[in-house]
Symmetry: none
Subunit: 229 residues, 4 copies
DNA sequence: GATGAATGAGCATTCATTCAT
DNA sequence: CATGAATGAATGCTCATTCAT
């Protein structure tokens, strides 16, 4: 009955090999958690996927909860690697910024989501339910991501192609929210390329083409803010 | 062999009383789930909170999962009751819309969140992790809420105080995302009134003061929109 | 949700009415136990079948175990009524006995089993598993039934158309066993009329055409027993 | 949250050891079920009897119902091992058959029952009540046992020392029934050796000394059946 | 008398974790 | 180091029984 399945028998001795094993386990755990959810998944599932004994798991991680932190790192790392990278070049025109943000958005929805649609669900919904600490961690992560956008906006304000009185922090958070809403939508059901593009355009425009409120109906009032800047 | 002794019997006999009891249990479950999380919570906790036998729970709900649906209804109902209500009056000017949206945002962050900060966490993070069905349900709910905003925007477009080419659907979704980001921030840590106000202002402005992009590079060319407006 | 189903509202006041109610409950219990088995059946099932409150059950019977005794009585009573009755007339010839036994057997397999195939399963397999007492009771019942046959055989011996040295008790028990085997077979799967007849004939013949063993191999030896009789 | 401390770990690693453990558990389950009955018995009882954790039980069997099949195998195996074995030698005379059957009967009542009087009760009354499948299984088993006798009888018919028109199938079933009746009697109360012997003799004689019905007693009457039919 | 709301003992089952091999 | 056998805390759920109405 109990197939006396042989372990892999690849004994990691060197520090490097140990690290490799840890990574394997994390990846396996990611897969298992993504497929079945944290609670429904068992350590045995993870071990089975690697064809290692489940006792072995505990040689690399303290407990089930412990590995989750690493899985989050792994997942978030994957996102950031694909999204954040390079083009930190400061935009010099509104259109450059528009292009930057559009690229960013496209990447998130394409690179990330298409590569593994379970990822956003995993991070946003699976992990956040485990305990307060992980929730805070993920929320902090999102905040951090938002913080990455701030400089771009600040640069726009400084260079004058974004409205001078823009609350950069708030706008960055709003932008993050727009991304989240997009992810929510994708978790819910897939979107066509056109839908994605239009959504991204709309959001980017909300940032880039956001002008100071005109003195409303009031006839000849000069824009007050331009003066103050 | 079996010695089930007691049977005190405080009997909700009338349909009304039964409904009351159901509500009590739902509220208790809400509290327990909000405090300990769905998985950590036991039926016994819910029963204990009401000082009823845990068998009684099963007279009113089929099982642990069953009540969760009702808890969601209860939670969502609370939100909607506070937020959605009346002011369906169509805005006739940009400033009216701005006011409408600002009020809406303020309500969400104040009425809802201040009344029970656990509510958004419960709905967004606790419930969504249980199973695919509930996840879809919550996401659908958010979509629905977004759909409620569309008419407001569409009205603005029709009346000419929102940019003519606005993708109303996308903008509504973006707006929803901004709300979510705000809730995320509030789940993470409380915000000062000023912070909230500034965030709301920023978001509302992103919608209301979003103009059609100028012909890009073209130097000092007059904004075409200004002409059309 | 809980359809507040009204009780029958037929309040048994007179002793006769009370007895009628008891009988109703016993019959309902018989049905329920026969359908679902004693353990799988609940008091609620019995009550539901009669559309009475399940508390009412306890006004007529002490507990679940208690009613089983009555159900057995009811079931056994049905059998006996159909099988045992009248023709106690003493057979005067082997053929008369043969006819008597054949009739008896036919009745058991036809009247009883055809009328309710669940009955033998109920008595033999359901009830006997409950506890030692009921097991003994059913076994005693079978013994009793066997005892009813003894006189018929004894009569045969006395009149000389059954072998003189027949162990009447043992034969009666054997005959009972043959009936039981038949019932087992019927519980297992239905039998054609022909199969039944052949089985009955075979069994009856084993009783009626059972002669004293000849002195074994010894050729023409006189039957010793005939001398002793 | 989870503090599953222990993990002593006496490890049946080899397939042989695993099988041994399985057998231990089956035996323990047999004892427990025989003593308390299936429903009254708990997995904990079985585990306690072996002084193992009750979680261990589930390493070897899927669930409570699962092991019952094995317990039946175990019980039936014990019976068959003691009863069925060897002497397949074909009888050449009626007396040899008589001896064969007598031996068989004696074995059943002595070897089997004396060794563990609970066994027949277990198989016939405990197991058959669990569910339809097990009931059918046991009944099928009995049928099979009956089928083992058929050849013996058929042989007798062929050799001419059993009546030529014997319905071998029916007779085998009847014989099985006689054995069952004997077991019933033994479950009810013990029998003296003499009682057993007389019962066996009577039954065996019913088979071996069963002759074709004479044309009845009626003096010069032609065989009435041929006439009347 | 009838009712059914309430009750909680009881139990099967899961699975993270330990540790002897 | 790796393993997986053993473990038992923990929990959802059922249902016979009681008793206030």
């Amino acid at each position: 009955m109990q197939t006396p399945k042989r372990g892999r028998g690849r004994p990691p001795n060197t520090p490097a090999a140990i690290e490799r094993r840890r990574t394997e386990i994390i990846e396996a755990a990611y897969e298992v958690f993504a497929d079945k959810g944290y609670h429904a998944a068992g350590i045995a599932d993870i071990a089975a996927r690697l064809e290692i004994g489940h006792g072995t798991f505990y040689r690399y991680f303290d407990n089930k909860r412990d590995i989750l932190d690493h899985v989050v790192d792994y997942g978030v790392g994957r996102v950031l690697a694909l999204v954040v990278p390079d083009d930190l070049a400061e935009a010099t025109t509104r259109e450059e910024l528009r292009a930057q943000l559009t690229t960013l958005g496209t990447r998130i929805f394409t690179e990330v989501v298409d590569r593994d649609p379970r990822l956003p669900r995993m991070i946003l919904f699976e992990v956040t339910a485990i305990d307060a600490e992980l929730l805070q961690r993920v929320l902090g992560l999102l905040e951090t991501v938002g913080a990455l956008v701030s400089p771009l906006l600040l640069n726009g304000v400084r260079r004058g192609f974004l409205r001078a009185d823009l609350d950069v922090e708030a706008a960055a958070r709003a932008l993050t929210g727009c991304v989240i809403a997009g992810l929510f939508a994708l978790v819910r059901k897939s979107m066509t390329t056109t839908e994605r593009e239009r959504y991204i355009d709309t959001v980017v425009s909300m940032i880039c083409d956001n002008v100071e409120p005109k003195p409303a109906q009031s006839p000849r009032g000069r824009a007050k803010k331009s003066a103050s800047s």
